[in-house]
Amino acid sequence: MSIATTILRSRAVAALASPHGVDRYLEQVNPMWAAHEVRARVVDVHREVDVDGHPPVATITLQPTSTWRGHRAGQHVQLGVEIGGARRTTRVFTVSSPDSRHGDRFTITLRANPDGLVSRFLVEEARPGTIVHLSQAEGDFVLPDHVPDHIVLISGGSGITPVMSMLRSLQRRTHRGRITFLHYAQGPEHQIYAAELDDIRRSGHGIDVHLLHPELGDPALSPAWLGRLVPGYRDVPTWACGPAPLIEAVQAAYDGSEALHVEYFKPPRTATGSAEGEVAFSRSGAEAANTGASLLEQAEALGLSPEFGCRMGICFSCTSRKTEGTVRNVLTGEESSLPDEDIRICVSAPVGDCVVEL
């Protein structure tokens, strides 16, 4: 840590910058100056895959502020962008580049999900120079410090990013063991990192790369096939990441083995447009069928006592975070489906499934 950072993080400077905090001043001068927060400048946007009629996939290179503490391969980061220069929306993306250290550049690779505000913005609108907001790296889907002699990495679709980060890290560390790398994609033209994986397949010592396209006749993942490829695979440390169906198949094949580590992305649940679905309050664990009443009333009916004030949407006392689902503002009729959004529960009614941090 540089002297400047040490000073900026000191209690004396915090006292002088009270009550706003040092970063609120630094950002006015240069968005890449920060003492506590993490931000990044987009350095490069590279299209990985662009198949007509399919959402494109791109790799974004990010130069973080010096506050970035680095990441371990397999971890993810929350990334927020200001859409239309006004509304900041945050989503989670896995880092695709190898392990990074303090202030190191890193990359994320993502598909421009047609319903995803953030992924579409990053792939289609972000340019070198665009500033994004970051969390520190999070997650424990990571390799152990001492990597076993033989490991298996399984991925599907854009779930390739964390295992690719692992593969790249191991290559950089000149890992001497054996790595079995399995990846499922829709077809060869959808293959992310095709050229790099081809290079590795031809020259990577001890790395078996298997790129599979079941729609073209390649074998689907099954215990028998996996057993032929990696005998005794249930005892081989394995990291798997991908869409829910693939992860379910992997979990079935490993049959509760402790050697398996998984991470998967839940597909967003869509609104049903009426008082259907389940309402869940995640902190208390209370859940019930959606009655169509306001979230405040539904929470109270379940015996919770969330904070509230005016009960008419003006005082913001009841503001809570909605993590999943769609809500309708009962005053304006406006519906909103953004994940991780602060809502006033006294004037918000769930539309279909909904999860609120209460």
Binding site: A15, L16, P19, G85, A86, R88, F316, L331, D342
Partner: protein, 396 residues
């Protein structure tokens, strides 16, 4: 501008007098035209439509505006702190720091803490996280202001902002000899306004009245002490110390900037609810209130101040107190543009829209503070009539 303040004209006064037999009179509201429930509903719908339209337009311009105000506030602050190293520039340093504190408290703090910019998703402009440059902890202020004051605006016995528990600001508050000191209390409250706002949350008047126990305040102390310590530390110790031998000058400058902010904020805020012609309400009248009636009460309970664009920014757009009370969670920069529309609607419904230049609104508030110091029999009951007449004379 002489007569921007729309007062019930002779004709409308006659009409309301004629209707008094059917509609129950509301304390302090007998001068105003009363609306039927149908009219109230239609009026509420018109207000909702304005709100809806502005919400659908929120975007880049609003975000750029508030970020620009924050940027200017930070610049004034840094400039003010730096100028204290140049003793001859002392008045300039005080001015810059005062502007910084006024912007921080009013156009940024007050409005951000109302959730006006929550839709941006920026933690630095979020109602749940913002802390202002003021000794009152934002968490406590949001309860007493956003919830109590904005929900129960001008309802006597419910809205603790009426008189701040210290002053007599309405005829309905029974006179006691204590109120002879009304003007003195007002001057003290003005001078120490940020402290008054902080102490307001302790509800001392309710403790005296036996409606609240001292133990109820216990949970408030740690936040209050932390905030006071942090504020005092930087303004009265650290920044003065950093200027070395100029310590006393810087300390005096910081204290002056806080005082300037206090005086400014007090005056703007008192012009928002206490000039002549603003109504108060009884608790009975506001039971089972409809949405239209709620809007109506917000409107009758607030007053605007006319002025330039810069003036509006420096008041945090609380010069548009009427629009703020109708739409407390809309970005304040939108109030001037919707004011014309609100006013036009008021004219159609025959509702008084209380506005006037700063000088006149201030004089009106000062007069009220002094008049209410005395028992009503000395000033004459129905003093509202007298007040309006007198005010008209001033305006003319």
């Amino acid at each position: 501008m002489t007569a921007t303040q729309i007062k019930p004209s002779t004709t409308s006064k006659k009409k309301s007098t004629a209707r008094q037999s059917e509609a129950p009179t509301v304390p302090g509201d007998d001068l105003f035209e009363r609306l039927t429930p149908e009219q109230l509903e239609a009026f509420g719908d018109e207000m909702d439509a304005i709100r809806q339209r502005v919400i659908s337009q929120l975007g880049e311009e609003d975000a750029a505006y508030i970020r620009n105000v924050v940027k200017r506030q930070r610049q004034f602050e840094v400039a003010g702190r730096a100028l204290f190293y140049l003793p001859p520039a002392w008045p300039l340093a005080v001015a810059a720091l005062s502007v910084s504190k006024i912007l921080d408290n009013m156009e940024i703090g007050h409005n951000v803490m109302h959730g006006q910019y929550d839709w941006m998703g920026d933690p630095g402009l979020n109602s749940r996280m913002y802390e202002w440059d003021n000794v009152c902890p934002s968490e406590q202020w949001k309860y007493s202001h956003n919830y109590i004051h904005h929900t129960f605006t001008n309802i006597l016995g419910k809205d603790r902002d009426v008189g701040y528990g210290i002053l007599r600001m309405d005829e309905e508050q029974p006179w006691r000899p204590y109120y002879l000191g009304n003007p003195v209390y007002a001057l003290l409250l003005m001078t120490f306004f940020e402290w008054g706002v902080a102490m307001h949350d302790l509800e001392v008047e309710n403790i005296v009245a036996g409606k609240r126990s001292i133990a109820d305040n216990k949970p408030l102390y740690p936040g209050l002490m932390r905030k006071i310590r942090n504020q005092a530390l930087k303004d009265y110790l650290l920044f003065p110390a950093l200027t070395g031998p100029l310590f006393p000058l810087t300390l005096a400058g910081n204290a002056t900037a806080n005082l300037v902010r206090n005086i400014w904020a007090f005056n703007i805020i008192f012009c928002g609810h206490f000039p002549a012609g603003v109504s108060t309400f009884s608790q009975e009248e506001c039971e089972d209130e409809s949405r239209g009636h709620w809007y109506y009460r917000q409107l009758l309970g607030s007053a605007n101040i006319t002025g330039s664009k810069l003036f509006h920014v420096m008041t945090g757009n609380l010069s548009h107190q009427i629009e703020h009370h109708l739409f407390p969670d809309l970005p304040a920069r939108r109030y001037p543009e919707i004011a014309d529309e609100v006013r036009e609607i008021c004219e159609r419904y025959g509702i008084a829209y209380n506005t006037g230049p700063l000088g006149r609104q201030l004089a009106s508030v000062a007069k009220k503070i002094c008049r209410l110091a005395l028992p009503d029999r000395l000033t004459g009951r129905g003093s509202r009539d007298a007040d309006v007449v007198a005010d008209d004379a001033v305006a003319a």
